[in-house]
Amino acid sequence: QKEVEQDPGPLSVPEGAIVSLNCTYSNSAFQYFMWYRQYSRKGPELLMYTYSSGNKEDGRFTAQVDKSSKYISLFIRDSQPSDSATYLCASTSNQFYFGTGTSLTVIP
């Protein structure tokens, strides 16, 4: 079982939609949870991270962690075509573990 599991999609939504991206994890020791965005043929870039449970908002992006169910979510409001990318969730204990990524396309 992978440390972090993620539905690969692909996910296709119309512009302006609310997008929900989800991951699960297995290691109870994980405390920090990150979301990365990766454009085609580029390296991943950190979007945001959260500590333990709860929500964190940054503009149109909201990261949510539910430690009781080991569930990580990223919500994108008012999605834009420029949000089209692969989104990776990740967590860390003594090293970093990444999900496989969810491919998102926002259609104008």
Partner: protein
Amino acid sequence: DAGITQSPRHKVTETGTPVTLRCHQTENHRYMYWYRQDPGHGLRLIHYSYGVKDTDKGEVSDGYSVSRSKTEDFLLTLESATSSQTSVYFCAIGGTGLEQYFGPGTRLTVT
């Protein structure tokens, strides 16, 4: 790409040949990482370094070695390349926090 370069950017090599990938940073970050990215597996940590001459293994270290003789350079070596090592390799750098900055990647094909 936050002052990180990787070389070469593309490489095709034959099974059994040695290959060295280079990561160079201009940010003076303490931590450097090598990942591989494969469909269905995502990003997996190969090795990382927490200082000059200080390295440790990651999740998928078999068949790979690393060296860091200067703060700015982190080398990944495949002693005898195999087809299973065909992948996209990313270098990342970071400080003591959670942020990792990734390089542009190296596409390696082993035939």
